[in-house]
Structures are given as structure tokens and as C-alpha cells.
């Protein structure tokens, strides 16, 4: 008995200890509530927006998506086509510029720049993301707008005027300034994500390539870029989501116009900028509903973009090479 009773006691202790840990339970409870709260909030927002949009959805149905009218006057006819078009042109345009630019910045910061320069420049680029968008928009109006109207657009027109994109009269407000403002806003995100991706490329893979007598560029093209490829795709989608949802800065420079046209010089509107500029002055239930309908489209798109980006990120995370 003398040999078993101490061990029995020890075993019993284990059982007692394993029963209840107030700290763990509290942690579990708090985090669960927080997580559920986030989900509930998202659901609530989505429901509220859709609920507001109901009058417009009843009246216009899916035709809203292709109708190119916004008449808050006596006729009360609304459609989203011009804004969907404006959103697509400005965000894809911004992505087209910001994508290569961000990859170049990230490559410079990880592979090419002298080491002492990498930290400061990287920090500066990331600080660009911290500039409030209304400030970017203000700069867009005061500095970039005149530059675009007086120099960039005349030059584009002179050089590429045969393309409908660069036809029309240069102007301070328009799709092109919106594209440039969005480029400034998404470049920091895409480049800092890309930079992380490039930093994550294993050193031994890079050395393996260089040991074959490849140049730095061949190494980057053959090893670094393929390794980071799907991550970059996810970063671009995140950037796209940001561009699509950006309201203030775009509203400040895009000019406001209900039209589908090919000239980047002329004013237009995006879903987000139309919502931002019209909500205050909306008078009828139908107009409010139509604005909420625009918001619904925006919400659906943003969620889709986010889900796609996360799916890619998850795929990348799983693909980490394993040495067996």
C-alpha cells in the first residue's frame, strides 16, 4: 500500500487540476464573443444596406445594373451602369500602373538596393499608406490636377491621341486623375505585401540559382518571381478591393458625371464616389434606395475580392516546400 497510495494521490491531483481553469475559460469566452461580434456586425451591415436598397430593387430589378441613367428629378430613374463602368476603368487602370510599379519597388527593396537604403525607403513607401485619403484627394486637386491638365494630358493626347482613351479635352477633374490617385493609394499596400513575399523566398533557393552562374535578373525571374507569384496575385486583388472601395479621394478628383465614354480625360463617377457625393442630398426613398443598391453592388464585389485573395493566400501557405 505504501507504494501505491502516493502515486494514486498524484493521479487524483491530475484529475482535479484538469477540471477547470478560470483564466482559460474567460479567455475562451471573450475571444468567442469578439469573433462572433465581428461576424454579427458584418451580417448586420449587409442586411441594413440591402434593406435600404429594397425600394430600388423592387422598382428597377437587375435592369439597374445596365441602366445608364441617374435622374433624381421629376422622373426618378436610376441605374448603376455608368458607375460600374467608372469603377472598372479607374480601378483596373490603377492596378495596371500600381502592379508593375509595386513589384519593381519590392524587388528594388529586397534584391537590388544597397542595404543601408532598404530600411528607410521601405518605411517611406509604407508611410504613404498612412496618409489619409482625404489628404491625398486634396493634393490631387491642388497639385496633381493642374499638372495632369497642363502637362500630362496634353502630352498623352499629342503622343497617343489616336487612341480614344486619350481623346477629348484635358481637364483637372476626370478618370485619369482618379486612376492616379488610386495608384498612389494602392501602391504602398501591394508593394509592402510583395516585399514580404520576396523576403520569404528561401536564401538557399536564390543561392542555388546564382551558383549555376545566373545573373541576378535571371535568378529573380527564374526563382523569386515564380515563388512569389500567387502571393502577388493575392496582393493585387487586395489592392483592387481597396481601389474599388475608395470613396473620398476619388470623389475629390473624378468630377462627377453620369456617362460611359472612352476618354480618360473626361469626368465620371465610381460606385463609391457616387455614394459619397449623393447620400447627403438624397430626397426620395427611391433615391436613397438606389444609393443603397450601389452600396450593395460594392459590398458584394469587395467581399468576393477578399474571399478570392484569402483563398489564394491559403493555397500559398499550403504550398510551402517541404524537404523530405
Amino acid at each position: 500500500m505504501a507504494t501505491t497510495s502516493p502515486s494514486l494521490a498524484r493521479a487524483a491531483e491530475l484529475r482535479r487540476r484538469g477540471r477547470f481553469h478560470p483564466g482559460d475559460a474567460a479567455l475562451h469566452g471573450v475571444t468567442l464573443v469578439a469573433a462572433l461580434g465581428a461576424v454579427a456586425l458584418l451580417a448586420l451591415i449587409a442586411w441594413k444596406v440591402v434593406d435600404q436598397a429594397r425600394p430600388a430593387m423592387h422598382r428597377f430589378g437587375l435592369h439597374f445594373l445596365v441602366s445608364n441613367t441617374w435622374d433624381p428629378g421629376i422622373h426618378q430613374v436610376f441605374g448603376a451602369a455608368a458607375f460600374i463602368f467608372g469603377t472598372a476603368v479607374t480601378s483596373l487602370g490603377a492596378l495596371l500602373i500600381a502592379g508593375p510599379l509595386s513589384i519593381a519597388i519590392a524587388l528594388f527593396l529586397t534584391e537590388l538596393a544597397p542595404r543601408w537604403l532598404r530600411g528607410p525607403i521601405g518605411t517611406l513607401v509604407e508611410m504613404l499608406a498612412a496618409v489619409p485619403s482625404v489628404v491625398v484627394g486634396l493634393w490631387g486637386i491642388l497639385v496633381m490636377g493642374p499638372f495632369v491638365a497642363n502637362h500630362l494630358e496634353p502630352w498623352l493626347k499629342h503622343t497617343f491621341g489616336f487612341l480614344p482613351l486619350f481623346g477629348g479635352d484635358p481637364s483637372i477633374f476626370g478618370l485619369l486623375p482618379a486612376i492616379l490617385v488610386l495608384t498612389i493609394m494602392i501602391t504602398p499596400i501591394v508593394s509592402s505585401v510583395s516585399r514580404e513575399l520576396f523576403l520569404g523566398v528561401p536564401q538557399d533557393l536564390k543561392e542555388g540559382a546564382l551558383a549555376l552562374g545566373t545573373t541576378r535578373w535571371e535568378m529573380i525571374r527564374g526563382v523569386v518571381l515564380p515563388y512569389a507569384r500567387s502571393g502577388i496575385a493575392a496582393a493585387l486583388i487586395l489592392g483592387l478591393g481597396r481601389a474599388v472601395g475608395e470613396a473620398i479621394a476619388v470623389t475629390q478628383v473624378i468630377g462627377g458625371n453620369v456617362a460611359i465614354h472612352w476618354s480618360l480625360f473626361r469626368p465620371g463617377d465610381t460606385l463609391a464616389s457616387r455614394i459619397a457625393s449623393q447620400y447627403q442630398g438624397a430626397t426620395t426613398k427611391l433615391q436613397v434606395g438606389s444609393i443603397a443598391y450601389l452600396a450593395t453592388i460594392l459590398l458584394v464585389f469587395s467581399l468576393l475580392a477578399n474571399v478570392a485573395a484569402q483563398a489564394i493566400v491559403r493555397k500559398v501557405a499550403r504550398r510551402q516546400p517541404v524537404i523530405r
Binding site: R115, P202, D204, L205, K206, E207, G208, A209, L210, A211, L212, G213, T214, T215, E218, G222, V223, P226, Y227, R319, P321, V322, I323, R324
Partner: protein
């Protein structure tokens, strides 16, 4: 350790007779290393190393951990250029040309002097593309398929992978991955292949297949291999260099140094230096 110890025969490493080692006057010098000192951030990792490395031989570099073996062979193809704080002094003459001299292109150096690393590092690409990568980058695209097959055959991997060249290289076993890395290195037809503990992550069977391979290939290439495994050095190497840490200097720092360099047979049976003897007989402390 103070008393003289005679080497017990059974403690000796097995030596395969190195019938291939030519007499000194018939050896062709590939590397003539003169007074090489290599520093990281001012701290010397190896000091004043002088030795010659000969063509179509296998030269092993052995020694305790941290004595600068990796540093040494990474100097031979300027791989250390990638380490920002690295500086080298002295000369490394490659066929008479100083590798650290002005106007030497490190890319061209690595093109002639390939390297295989401790951890297999296949690219996350197909088996075929791994071997073809260097060939494509260097513009050796004529008869690409044939070159890939030849390299894989030389690396004794062809029979195992010929039906699945499109498979990801990451799905191979560690030993296969390492042979793939050797195939990748020799596909671009270098003069010298440097191997930094190529078998340390492998099991004995994979290890011996890599050793066999070096025996086969040394007709065409010059090998320099770093190894922790003295049996391995004894089995594959014609010449062996023993590196060790120098006694602490006035600043209390120890740096790597070349203790003894000779025919493998000599290093493992009748070393001239006491430290070598202690090390190869396992009495290193």
C-alpha cells in the same frame, strides 16, 4: 592527451586505395590559394590559408564545426559576395587568374565553378525544369532534352525519374533531391564542383550513391567537398585538407586555419601534425 598515443589499427578509418592519385609533378593546378584571409564584419573566419587544388581529383576539407570550411569553399566561387559584411584578402588563382582581381565577373566565375549545398535546394519546379534552369539561363538550349538526360544520367538519377520528369522536384526523397542538385550543377558543364557537406542530410545508402557518383565523375570534373564525416573523406578524397581553429590570439578570438594538407592516405595514416592525428582518430577535444 599529453602522452603520445599510438593509433590503434581498429580505430583507423577504412581507406580505399587511392590508386588514382598521380605523383605531384603530374598534377594540374586548378586553384592556387595564397594567403587567403576571409572576414565577416572584420572578424576573421579563416586566416592565411595557402594550398593548391588539383584537376580531376577530389579534395576533401575536414575539420571541427566553425573552423571556416564553408567560408573557405564559398570563397572559391565568390558565393560569399552575397554576404554584405564579407571581405577577403590574399589571392585565389584559378588557372592563374585571381578570382578577386579587378574586372572578374562573379557570374562568370560561378558559371565555371558550380556548387552543391548542404541542404538539398531544388527549385519548386518540375524535375526537368530544375536541370534545364541553368541551361536555359546560360543559353545552352540546343538539344536541351539530351543535356537534361545526360546530366541526370551522370548524377545516377535518370533511371529513377525518367518516367516522371514533369513531376515536382519537391516530391523526390532527400537523396534524390540532392542528386538532382548535382545534376543541375553539372548540367551547365562547369570545371569545378564545390560540395558543402552534400550528404549530411542523407541516409547511408543515399550517401554512398553520391560518393560513387563522385568517383565516376572526377574524370570530367574537379571536386572540392566539405565533410564532417571522416569515413567519407577517406572514401572519396584523393587529397585532404584539415582545418582547425587557431589558439586564441591576443584579442581572445579564434579563427579557422589550415593545419595540414596532403594526400588522403597520408592524412589518415601518418599525419605530420599532432592536431590532425587527434582529429582523425577521434580524440579531438
Amino acid at each position: 592527451m599529453a602522452t603520445a598515443v599510438t593509433i590503434q589499427p581498429e580505430r583507423r578509418v577504412d581507406l580505399t586505395p587511392q590508386a588514382t592519385l598521380p605523383p605531384p609533378e603530374r598534377r594540374e593546378t586548378v586553384f592556387d590559394i595564397r594567403g587567403l584571409t576571409a572576414r565577416y564584419g572584420g572578424v576573421p573566419a579563416i586566416s592565411d590559408v595557402s594550398m593548391e587544388i588539383y584537376e580531376n581529383l577530389v579534395t576533401a576539407v575536414i575539420g571541427p564545426s566553425g573552423c571556416g570550411k564553408s567560408t573557405f569553399i564559398r570563397c572559391l566561387n565568390r558565393m560569399n559576395d552575397l554576404v554584405p559584411a564579407f571581405r577577403a584578402e590574399g589571392e585565389i588563382l584559378y588557372h592563374g587568374l585571381d578570382l578577386h582581381g579587378p574586372g572578374i565577373d562573379p557570374v562568370a566565375v560561378r558559371r565555371r565553378i558550380g556548387m552543391v549545398f548542404q541542404k538539398p535546394n531544388p527549385f519548386p519546379k518540375s524535375i526537368y525544369d530544375n536541370v534545364a534552369f541553368g541551361l536555359r539561363a546560360l543559353g545552352m538550349k540546343d538539344g536541351l532534352d539530351g543535356r537534361v538526360e545526360h546530366a541526370l544520367t551522370q548524377a545516377a538519377l535518370w533511371d529513377e525519374v525518367k518516367g516522371r520528369l514533369k513531376m515536382s522536384a519537391l516530391e523526390l526523397s532527400g537523396g534524390q533531391q540532392q542528386r538532382l542538385c548535382i545534376a543541375r550543377a553539372i548540367a551547365v558543364e562547369p570545371d569545378v564542383v564545390l560540395l558543402d557537406e552534400p550528404a549530411s542530410a542523407l541516409d547511408p545508402i543515399a550517401t554512398s550513391s553520391i560518393e560513387d557518383l563522385m568517383h565516376e565523375l572526377k574524370r570530367d570534373y574537379t571536386f572540392v567537398i566539405v565533410t564532417h564525416n571522416m569515413q567519407q573523406a577517406a572514401r572519396v578524397a584523393d587529397m585532404t585538407a584539415f582545418f582547425s581553429l587557431s589558439p586564441a590570439g591576443e584579442d581572445g578570438r579564434r579563427s579557422g586555419m589550415l593545419v595540414e594538407y596532403d594526400a588522403t592516405q597520408k592524412i589518415f595514416t601518418t599525419p605530420a601534425d599532432r592536431r590532425t592525428e587527434d582529429y582523425v582518430t577521434g580524440r579531438f577535444g
